[in-house]
């Protein structure tokens, strides 16, 4: 019999038992839609994090004190006091294709202006900082090399800090504020940069020369991080490798000693952040995938019932010339039609749910095409695998026995 006829007969048989067919499909629908929705949510979240991190600049390289990849004790960022301004100078001198570079010293501090009072992150940097981050100035200007050299008590406010202390749309340059009880002159306000990944407001920062932060606020010589930008995005990984070499020489590390610093590109950071999410997504999708197997068993169960119920029909078909193969194909196609239809509806439903998540919770979703192809393939495979045994059972019937079946 032609495949077209076989399919038509299978569809007719399924249409005769609409309720049962629908319930059998439900297993596949739930399984497939769950997989699609979860993969969509996971991928969407991943894409958003990646985009946010890369928005910081794909040519950025960050060096932190301490080793985050070696096993054992993991200190917080900059916990180990190993980076110095000499490292910055060495990189500037010896690594080619470095465009801008700045050391970073961070602390939290109370900032007071008049009777306003705000706790914020105080970040000590060099003059290159706004150039590296491509961060525009709203009012006034960023501090100068001279300010850095003299460890001047000048401050450039992030937008949030400025608004908290002086109100929105106010130019506070020239005002004096107190940081940890020392007077600082406000010389500029940064433009808005907004949220970084994980809900961190980048505008809630006060910038000062790193020398000032080291000497006047923290009283120490070390720096916590170095941030630099490569001349272009393609040079980034070469720069990052060269930085490692220079740093090892600089810190006099012998062959075999682990790094006492960590060099990461924005790409690396994006990967680290998304890897955990990836594991989570796969785990959830895997659990949802189990429901596909449950759906498959449901199909097998119904097909077995169907074969028994239709024993006489099978006998009649065989008596007038159906071969075992014709019968087997008929039941197999029924199983595959159920699973594919269920899979198709599940995919549509999955897209729908992902869309709802985007619309109502503004949660970004992204269903990759290969997930759709896989869901479809999985559905077909489920139908074939779980439909095979019942179909074989039907095909193996003896015509006369099947005809006599009551």
């Amino acid at each position: 019999m032609s495949p077209v006829m076989t399919t038509r007969i299978a569809l007719k048989a399924l249409a005769r038992n609409k309720m049962r067919t629908a319930l059998t499909m439900l297993g596949m629908i739930i399984g497939v839609s769950a997989v699609i929705t979860l993969v969509g949510l996971g991928n969407g979240a991943q894409a958003r994090i990646e985009a946010q991190i890369k928005a910081g600049g794909t040519n950025l390289v960050t060096i932190n004190a301490g080793n985050f990849t070696a096993g054992g004790v993991r200190g917080g960022s900059g916990a180990a006091a190993t980076l110095t301004i000499d490292d910055v100078e060495a990189i500037r001198k010896e690594v080619p294709n470095v465009q801008y570079i700045t050391p970073g010293v961070n602390m939290r501090g109370q900032v007071i202006a008049g009777n306003q009072n705000w706790s914020t992150r105080v970040q000590g940097t060099d003059v290159d900082f706004p150039l590296i981050r491509e961060w525009p100035i709203r009012y006034g200007s960023f501090f100068s090399t001279q300010d850095v050299n003299s460890a001047a008590k000048v401050a450039v406010l992030g937008k949030t800090v400025s608004e908290q202390l002086f109100g929105p749309e106010v130019d506070p340059t020239g005002q004096v504020i107190r940081v940890r009880n020392q007077p600082f002159k406000v010389i500029g306000v940064m433009g808005s940069k907004g949220q970084a990944g994980m809900g961190d407001d980048q505008d809630d920062t006060l910038f000062a020369p790193y020398t000032t932060v080291q000497k006047k606020l923290m009283g120490q010589q070390y720096i916590q991080s170095i941030t630099l930008s490569a001349a272009n995005a393609d040079a980034t990984s070469d720069v990052s490798n060269a930085v490692s070499v220079v740093m090892r020489t600089q810190h006099k590390l012998a062959n075999g000693d682990p790094d006492d610093f960590t060099v990461r590109t924005q790409e690396d950071i994006a990967e680290i952040r998304t890897a955990a999410l990836d594991t989570m997504t796969n785990l959830l999708a895997g659990i949802a995938g189990v429901s596909l197997i449950v759906g498959g068993i449901g199909i097998m169960n119904i097909m077995l019932v169907s074969v028994t119920e239709r024993t006489r029909e099978i006998g009649i078909r065989m008596a007038i010339g159906a071969k075992g193969w014709d019968v087997q194909l008929q039941f197999l196609v029924e199983a595959v039609v159920i699973s594919l239809l269920g899979g198709g509806i599940g995919i549509a439903l999955g897209f729908g749910m992902a869309d709802l998540a985007t619309r109502f919770w503004e949660f970004p979703t992204q269903v990759p095409p290969n997930a759709v192809a896989m869901a479809f393939g999985f559905s077909a495979a489920t139908g074939i695998i779980f439909g095979f045994y019942p179909a074989r059972k039907a095909a193996a019937l003896d015509p006369i026995v099947a005809l006599r079946y009551e």
Partner: protein, 246 residues
């Protein structure tokens, strides 16, 4: 060469400890173009023989040659093909697919024929077969919307669709009133005389057997009698003289 030739056919069913001897050694030959009636009391083994002749069942022992071919040597698929192409089987209980139109039921054997026909051609042939049994107006009715006689005719049309050379009919008039019985016998007689199709018909009614050219009587799984019909009845003539039903 005989169309059907069986030798020492034995069929024994085992029901638990008990052995039921349905056929106890049947030897029989049927020639091309014959119209044979098999009669005998209920339980004498007629249906059992018919199922074996129809390639639906296997004998316990004995030989069966169909058109000179040893049926015991045919594979499952070859048997299916023989049932599909060579034999038109009319079952005692009709064996129509329920919830399927008369037309689709009649078409069914064509779907399992190797060389497949176009849908339109299949419909055409099924309609012709239904017309031959006088049931064109009921083509789209389901079996449960048809009377016993009409279902019987659908079953006959299905047996005819693939132009078989042999028709096996198991008590085709068993559930029919006398006029419908004569009509059905008329169909078989026409197939036999006009198309030269060999017909083997089971009946336990002796007057029905007289439409055949030869009567084989069974008793207890054996042939008791095998005679030519001297005064053959003709269904068409009888129908012409019957009063039409209002």
């Amino acid at each position: 060469m005989s169309v059907i030739s069986v030798r020492d056919l034995i069929k024994t069913y085992e029901v638990g400890e008990v052995k039921v001897h349905a056929l106890r050694g049947v030897t029989l030959s049927i020639e091309q173009g014959e119209f044979v009636a098999a009669t005998g009391p209920s339980g004498s083994g007629k249906s059992t023989l018919m199922h074996i002749l129809g390639c639906l069942d296997h004998p316990t022992s004995g030989q069966y040659f169909l058109d000179g071919r040893d049926v015991a040597r045919l594979s499952r698929n070859e048997l299916a093909e023989v049932r599909n192409r060579k034999i038109g089987f009319v079952f005692q209980g009709f064996n129509l697919l329920s919830r399927t139109s008369a037309l689709d039921n009649v078409e069914l054997p064509l779907l399992y024929t190797e060389k497949s026909l176009k849908t339109a051609e299949r419909h055409k042939r099924a309609m012709e077969a239904l017309k031959a049994v006088g049931l064109s107006e009921r083509a789209h009715h389901h079996p449960n919307q048809l009377s016993g006689g009409q279902q019987q005719r659908v079953a006959i049309a299905r047996a005819l669709i693939n132009q078989p050379s042999l028709i096996l009919a198991d008590e085709p008039t068993g559930n029919l009133d006398s006029r419908t019985s004569v009509e059905v016998m008329g169909i078989f007689q026409r197939l036999n005389m006009e198309h030269g199709i060999t017909v083997l018909l089971i009946t336990h009614e002796h007057d029905i057997a007289e439409y055949a050219t030869r009567i084989v009587s069974f008793k207890d799984g054996r042939i008791r009698d095998d005679v030519q019909v001297t005064n053959r009845r003709d269904a068409d003539t009888e129908l012409a003289s019957m009063p039409a039903i209002a």
